[in-house]
Symmetry: C2
Subunit: 288 residues, 2 copies
């Protein structure tokens, strides 16, 4: 049935791979995100170099994107606004191309090979430079009008506890504005990775993430929540977010998964940092 | 193909009907919600009185509910906790019974006959004694782990503008706690229906609803939002909520429906107060 290609298109790097799944990744390469022309040409060169060409390619892209047209739309990333990524890859490589958000791709991979196997409705949320969410509902990736932008949900912000006004250029103190990596860094004056586990930054971070997750739980009723991204590399953060989520929900959602098994409810991606590009390979397979 | 029965099970009244759709409702009756035994017996009596018996019955219930078992679970409504509503109706009337939330039933009716015809992914939110949300995603009603409880999402609460702490016994100032009918009444000391359109209560109400809707938009990416319930009987509230939603989203969701056609994006139910019981009839049809 052949090989598939994956392109996890990020604002910092494009991760390209060919293979058929986590146990069969034949090549993986990271390409720095520079201009669209240069980046896309280097991506195409990666695939042309492979001994066996992929039968189709999946792209999981940073956004916002127009999924119907395969275009990166209103990104603040210089030069990338209105880039028709899907059609350019299709034209350069002459294979079918599937296009979705980076987080939906990661959700797809975790559903097929990772922490969401057998589930019908779940969320994959990445907490890093930004916050983004993908979701599967009823066994299908959630798209809707455009696509979810879960990082931009609003959460309560107690200015007495945290006077930092948030980083989001659109909303100030939305979830991403208060809890993504840059908010940690600007609020505390050091990079998140330099904040020790006992620093009060993390109690606040867990609280904000829990407030956001509680609204996601009350809206989508997921069977599980997978948290990826750079900030969640701190594995000791998981039990704190989970306990805080229980506290915020306060017994309202009467499901044993939330009440009694919260540590299996809020989990890291089983595929780790490879979830995104593996999901792109799965998207590629679906493009055929 | 026969008749179907619908039971819209509410905390104040049970609305029962037989028919096949909005143009063929043969009988509709409201029964006050008293004890489970008395209420269920009167519901059964309504159906037994009909000249033609329904081939199946759909129930759309207040909650929280266990959809798999057809049981009302942790309601604060006295006497109703752990009521196996679906099996009791099935046993009394001997027909197949489908069971869902009241708001999912309303969403189903609006999809089939109302304001969501042809849509794939949308939200039906009721704003009345409580706030509840149903949704269709990819053409199917959203269930997930339990079912959505959209009224309980958290929103920013500016205590300087509004010191009222909210009515929700679980969360205080969640969306329902700040914006359902009882919050209006307790905050201002008069019933919402007695607050004139120019009262500042309504600017605050529109703001809270818009904050909630913005998070729902960023999570589910609905193609349309239908707002029902007693509070939304005030039709002049729709344009205020819609404008405020645009202000809160602040241009981030780049869809013409949100940017340019907001008055067709946030709309009342076309079926009005009949959406719930008509949806139950549609659920009943699906039970066969």
């Amino acid at each position: 049935m052949g090989l598939f290609g994956g392109i996890e298109a990020g604002g910092t790097k494009f991760v390209c791979a060919v293979g058929t799944g986590p146990d069969d990744l034949r090549a993986v390469e990271s390409i720095a995100t520079t201009t669209p022309d240069e980046t896309i040409e280097r991506v195409a060169a990666f695939f042309r170099r492979q001994p066996e060409q992929p039968a189709a390619i999946g792209i999981g892209s940073f956004g916002p994107v127009d999924l119907m047209r395969g275009v990166i739309t209103s990104t603040p990333k210089p030069g990338w606004r209105n880039t028709p990524l899907a059609s350019r890859i299709r034209d350069l490589l002459g294979v079918p191309v599937a296009f979705d958000t980076d987080v939906n791709a990661a959700a797809l991979a975790e559903h097929r090979w990772g922490a969401a196997r057998g589930l019908d409705t779940f969320i994959y949320l990445t907490v890093g430079t930004g916050i983004g969410g993908g979701a599967m509902v009823g066994g299908k990736l959630l798209h809707g009008l455009i696509h979810p932008e879960m990082g931009h949900i609003r959460i309560p912000h107690d200015l007495a506890r945290d006077p930092y006004m948030g980083t989001c250029p659109f909303h100030g103190d939305c979830l991403e504005g208060l809890a993504a990596g840059p908010a940690l860094e600007r609020r505390w004056g050091v990079r998140g990775s330099d904040l020790p586990p006992e620093h009060p930054a993390w109690a606040l971070e867990a609280h904000y993430l829990a407030l956001g997750l509680s609204s996601l739980v009350c809206t989508l009723s997921p069977e599980r929540i997978i948290l990826g991204g750079g900030v969640m590399q701190n594995d000791w953060l998981f039990p704190r977010v989970a306990r805080e989520l229980q506290a915020v929900l306060n017994g309202y959602v009467q499901a044993p998964q939330v009440l009694d098994q919260i540590d299996q409810y809020v989990v890291p991606p089983l595929l780790g940092g490879r979830a995104g590009v593996l999901g792109c390979i799965a998207l590629g397979e679906g493009a055929l």
